[in-house]
């Protein structure tokens, strides 16, 4: 039995499952003191209810805890393999649609892997746990359909490397649907790994209708899983090269910084790293 999660960070929410227990314990501590005369009946009632009622109460508490845990696990989008996964039919083919756009190189924090690296490792882990189904890769940079011999090879493939291109999600999905339609690979899932950039997804594009009807017209039902990376940035700063000119030994660049969201009046310090390539030595 193996299980992996597409949104592993949500698993931190499992701590919330302890909330019913904490509330129960707090309630037990917050009792009122009252003078009482009929203590005999109270003692008798406490003795009699100790077993059955307490068990019932504990069961209710466990159910509440499990309900919260189940909700969080469901939100974390589990992928079941082995015995548990067999119940839903084994997946024969996984088509990984990989967004290789520049924005996928965003690192949520310094030292952490980029969204692209994280999602590749997530896919690798999930596919391993699912018993290594057939893995087909469609990357956004080349748009080629490529069969990956082993999940281990996924990080090594040049078609999973970083690019400074933009992705076209409707086109990639169309390709995936066409591939399924042509090859009829059986039980198939499409895993769409993207950082949900509007420019990549093009939500107003008319091809989305074709994607929807394409999925519906497929002979076998497929599952489309979106492996969304990243989150809504608190502040978004974009840099754009407007023009460049060289005057003697100096290179002048006209850059435009666009800032969205955040407090418009606040001063923001945003260091812009640059890399200088050395001039290749001229051959003598």
């Amino acid at each position: 039995m193996s299980i992996s999660f597409l949104s592993q960070t949500i698993l931190w929410g499992l701590f919330a499952a302890s909330i019913p227990v904490i509330i129960h314990l707090l309630n037990r501590r917050r009792f009122r003191i009252v003078d009482w005369a009929a203590t005999t009946f109270l003692l008798k009632a406490s003795r009699e209810s100790r077993g059955k009622k307490k068990l019932k109460h504990i069961l209710i508490l466990i159910c509440r805890t499990l309900a919260i845990a189940a909700l969080i696990l469901a939100v974390a989008r589990p992928l079941l393999g082995g015995f548990l996964g067999s119940g839903s039919g084994s997946v024969g083919t996984v088509i990984l649609v990989l967004d290789r756009s520049a924005s996928m190189e965003t690192k949520p924090e310094s030292g952490a892997p980029s969204y692209r690296e994280a999602v590749i490792s997530q896919v690798w882990e999930a596919v391993e746990k699912m018993g290594s189904p057939r893995l087909i890769l469609i990357d956004s940079a080349t748009g080629d359909i490529q069969e990956v011999p082993s999940p281990d090879a996924l990080p090594e493939l040049s078609t999973t490397f970083a690019t400074d291109t933009q992705a076209d999600i409707p086109t990639l999905l169309t390709k995936a649907i066409d591939y399924i339609d042509e090859t009829n690979p059986g039980q198939t899932e499409i895993w769409l790994a993207s950082d949900m950039q509007r420019g990549d997804w093009r939500p107003t594009d008319s091809r989305w209708n074709a994607v929807r009807s394409g999925i519906e017209s497929l002979p076998t039902k497929i599952k489309l899983r979106v492996l969304s990376s990243g989150s809504e940035p608190v502040e978004n700063i974009a840099i754009e090269l407007i023009a460049s000119r060289r005057v003697e030994d100096n290179l002048f660049l006209d850059l435009r910084l666009t800032r969205s969201k955040g407090d418009g009046n606040a001063t923001v310090q945003s260091p812009i790293p640059y890399r200088e390539h050395a001039q290749p030595n001229a051959s003598p």
Binding site: R28, I33, D35, W36, A37, L42, K53
Partner: protein
């Protein structure tokens, strides 16, 4: 009036109804209550055959003329009533929830009102107060000054200590030599079997028993929202409980207790009255007096 447990209007309204004994009483003076002995009242009781030694003045000559036999004509004897109030003054009687009076306050009202009515109709009233033992005794008397003694004692009554009602009833049963009306005012939080024995003891001594069983509405309803630490009023025992969880068992235990107590009271033909302290005491006293009028044995 300096006693806040007495209401003159209530006394005036209830004063019109006589308080009767259900069983023949043995008093020391003539009164309005039936006696087991034959006497000289105007109410005919029975004829009995003359036996040597009988007073010949009591022979019924008309009966002799009709039957040629000697008969003695007997009449009922009327005597006075002795009422003993037994007030439980243990710590549990000091319980009250919300705006209701404490059980001891309610007992004060009932005892004071009834003793006033009893003395006022020429009968004797006495008072015994007990917690773990009998700590106050006022022998019955029909003097007007007796009322002040009873009222003062009720006024100064401080409920403390454990319930020793059973022992107190045994002692009272032994102490009262002649038939009397014993009125018990208590929450009866004691062993029901032992209470039954004590009532049997009173009954064996041919006393007329009346039981006023006082409970607070909260003790009956047992309605609490949150967990509570219950501190016993008598021995400060602490019970931490979640009332929501044990309410059913509590009600079952209370029901069982009330059924047992009522059963024990019926066994000895006691006049049992269960009521809550939220009730109107005038109605209770009035009901007590009127039902006795119809249940004379």
């Amino acid at each position: 009036m300096k006693y806040d447990f007495l209401d003159t209007e209530v006394l005036a309204r209830l004063g019109a109804i006589p308080l009767e004994s259900r069983t023949p009483m043995i008093g020391n003076v003539a009164g309005r209550h039936r006696s087991p002995h034959r006497g000289s009242s105007v109410e005919f009781a029975e004829y009995r055959k003359y036996v040597p030694g009988d007073d010949t003045r009591r022979l019924d000559w008309k009966a002799y003329a009709r039957s040629d036999r000697f008969y003695i004509k007997e009449f009922e004897a009327d005597t006075n009533l002795r009422a003993y109030f037994v007030v439980d003054s243990s710590g549990s009687m000091n319980f009250s929830s919300g705006d209701h009076p404490t059980k001891i306050d309610f007992a004060r009202k009932v005892a004071a009102t009834l003793s006033y009515l009893i003395v006022n109709q020429g009968d004797s009233a006495g008072l015994s107060c007990c917690n773990d033992k009998i700590h106050l005794e006022i022998p019955p008397s029909r003097r007007a000054a007796q009322l002040q003694a009873i009222f003062d004692s009720l006024q100064n009554l401080e409920p403390t200590g454990d319930t020793g009602l059973v022992d107190a009833l045994h002692q009272i049963a032994e102490k009262i030599q002649q038939r009397a009306l014993v009125i018990i005012l208590s929450d009866l939080f004691c062993e029901t079997e032992e209470l039954g024995d004590a009532l049997q003891h009173l009954r064996f001594r041919k006393h007329d028993i009346a039981v006023f069983h006082l409970l607070d509405p909260q003790e009956v309803e047992f309605h609490f929202e949150r967990p509570h630490r219950f501190v016993d009023l008598e021995d400060s025992t602490t019970v931490i409980a979640e009332p929501n969880l044990i309410a059913d068992e509590y009600h079952a235990a209370l029901r069982e207790f009330l059924e047992k107590v009522e059963g024990k009271c019926h066994d000895v033909h006691a006049d049992y009255h269960l009521f809550q302290t939220s009730a109107n005491y005038e109605e209770i006293v009035s009901n007590f007096i009127t039902t006795r009028l119809n249940s004379k044995r």
